[in-house]
């Protein structure tokens, strides 16, 4: 099997973000970056399939400036066979040019499966995976939390609101990965050493102009400080009164 995984380098979210002087971007000073969690689970899914199917290959593709090579190297140290950087000055906010550039690269690869994370927390649009599927005319299952591939066919589970859906699909296919599918392996020391010798190809990304423009970034209004109504079950009548009279939600 030939498997592609598209990954994105994203900032650690456990910080207080600052808006840059241009008012349209986040100040990256001091931020720590790593692979998007959903993409790491996608890499893990691909590696598990490769290990079950001898002769398979896993290729990681990432679009962005040279710093994404660090993210690609991390996946190589997890066990991915080779990496491709689609070089671009920056990653646009518009998912369409990204999906088109990735599709150009994937189209020629003859992949049986193309994995994405279901979304990335920074741009928070979650559109690139299904867009690539449509551009390439491939079947697509989004937000999967269970997967089985056998005899050229796949079965997956996706969690909908209040229901779980089990689907069957032919290969080649595009899958986007939700939490719960697996736990991503950590790179081993041996893996980190081996990754240094693995191929990482750099190509220019064919990016069409973005039709989305960020006009402004803002920090959301802080919630006003809360109040403690009281302690224990004795505080319940007061809480209920506040929910009825003040918040008007009961």
């Amino acid at each position: 099997m030939k498997i592609a995984v598209c990954v994105k380098r994203v900032p650690d979210m456990d910080v207080r973000f600052r808006i840059a002087a241009d008012n349209t971007s986040v100040d990256e000073a001091g931020l720590k970056f790593d692979i998007n969690d959903f993409d790491a689970w996608a890499v893990e899914a691909a590696l598990q399939l490769r290990d079950k199917n001898p002769g398979s290959e896993v290729v990681v593709i990432s679009l962005g400036p040279d710093v994404v090579q660090e993210t690609i190297r991390k996946t190589l140290s997890m066990g991915v066979d080779r990496g491709v950087q689609l070089k671009a000055d920056k990653v646009p906010i518009d998912g369409l040019p990204i999906a088109r550039a990735l599709s150009d690269e994937i189209k020629a690869g003859g992949y049986d499966l193309i994995f994405f994370g279901k979304m990335s927390p920074d741009s928070s649009n979650g559109v690139v995976g299904p867009m690539v599927a449509e551009i390439l005319g491939l079947p697509c299952v989004t937000a999967i939390s269970w997967l089985e591939i056998a005899d050229g066919k796949g079965k997956a589970k996706r969690e909908l609101e209040g229901a779980q859906e089990f689907v069957e699909f032919p290969l080649p296919a595009v899958l986007t990965v939700d939490e719960g599918l697996n736990t991503a392996r950590l790179p081993s020391l041996k893996g980190i050493m081996a990754a240094k010798k693995k191929p990482l190809e750099v190509k220019p990304a064919q990016l069409q102009p973005s039709q989305l423009t960020v006009r402004k970034l803002e920090l959301p209004a802080e919630r006003k400080a809360g109040r403690v109504v009281g302690e224990g079950a004795a505080a319940v009548p007061e809480l209920v009164k506040l929910l009825q009279v003040e918040a008007k939600v009961l």
């Binding site: 928070s124 299904p130 403690v228 079950a233």
Partner: protein
């Protein structure tokens, strides 16, 4: 004419609340253009009976696509049918929902049209030739104002940010066929299991009761479920710690990697308030927290807090809510 398209989400033969929200958002946009709203109502045989309801919320035209095999969401049929209609109708904008279904559908439609899309939109405005949306980034810690310059602009609204509003229009019905035969689609649903947060969707429920590690076991989630049933309009959610431990399915997880909710009322039961959980619920209108640790970070975002043992407080609250509901 810059008409606006709305996709009306259905489940079985019912219109979902997010479907009415999409029509309401499209109506407000069309009013700015002085144009019409055309709503696509796609579902199983009998869905045509809902056309009048869609007209009540402001659709000038309702395109009804009925097919016996469309009781479940079928991505390939929905995407091909919506994209075909948006293309032939020459719409200025197409409005979807950022529900599980909408997250899957809207980007497919956008790709088919070669159009750009913003999901999880918090607002929808017009400025000159651009459609302007507000969109949360970095798990809601940054809010972007984005101009969409391409046509059609594809926008998926966040559930619960637009209240469905009546604004009755004539609602001319046009009947149409699915753009592809449902029997020919490549991805087949082989089984659907009901479960998880109950009948009400977490993203749509006006009240969400969420439980954390403070509940100590999967069995004790009964306390949370009882409180939800006392409200009658509440869905049950959980923290990542709880879903990772298998006490609840992953689909119930509220937070950075899970569901994003913004209900009228959010009650956090035994939840400390880790940043990754707050990312999923901080836009809730009213937040209540019950936790035995008075220093838990959840109290910093809670409008009302009770410091105490959830095993005492929650049954008392459940009883009080039942009483309050009786007198309504």
């Amino acid at each position: 004419m810059a008409n606006v398209f709305a996709y009306v989400e259905t489940r079985g033969a019912d219109v979902r609340k997010v479907g009415l929200e999409a029509v309401t958002a499209a109506r407000a946009l069309a009013d700015k253009f002085g144009s019409e709203v055309h709503a696509l109502l796609l579902g199983p045989t009998g869905i045509a009976a809902k056309a009048n309801q869609i007209a009540q919320y402001g659709a000038d035209v309702i395109i009804v696509v009925e097919h016996a095999a469309l009781a479940n969401y079928n991505p390939e049929v929905a995407a091909a049918t919506a994209a075909g209609r948006i293309k032939s109708g020459g719409y200025r904008a197409a409005i979807f929902s950022t529900s599980a279904q909408g997250r899957d559908l809207a980007p497919r439609v956008a790709a088919r049209l070669g159009a750009s899309i913003v999901t999880d939109a918090l607002s929808l405005e017009v400025d000159g030739d651009s459609i302007i949306v507000r969109h949360p980034m970095n798990i809601g810690k940054v809010i972007a104002t984005i101009a969409i310059d391409g046509t059609p602009a594809i926008v998926a609204m966040r559930p619960n940010v637009v209240a469905p509003a009546r604004n009755a229009k004539a609602g001319r019905v046009e009947n149409a066929q699915p753009a592809v035969d449902p029997a020919s689609t490549r991805v087949k649903v082989i089984e659907t299991k009901q479960g998880g947060g109950g009948k009400l969707d977490l993203a749509e429920a006006p009240v969400v009761i969420a439980g954390g590690r403070g509940l100590k076991s999967a069995e004790n989630f009964k306390l949370v479920e009882d409180l939800a049933s006392a409200f009658g309009n509440a869905a049950v959610g959980a923290t990542r710690a709880v879903t990772d431990d298998g006490w609840r399915p992953h689909s119930d997880q509220i937070g950075q990697t899970g569901r994003l909710v913004s209900p009228e009322l959010y009650i956090a039961v035994g939840i400390s308030g880790a940043v990754q959980h707050l990312a999923g619920m901080r836009t809730s209108k009213t937040i209540v927290a019950v936790n035995k640790d008075k220093d838990a970070p959840i109290f910093k975002v809670a409008d009302y807090g009770i410091v105490g043992d959830v095993f005492e407080v929650i049954p008392a609250l459940t009883e009080a809510v039942r009483e309050a509901k009786k007198h309504h």
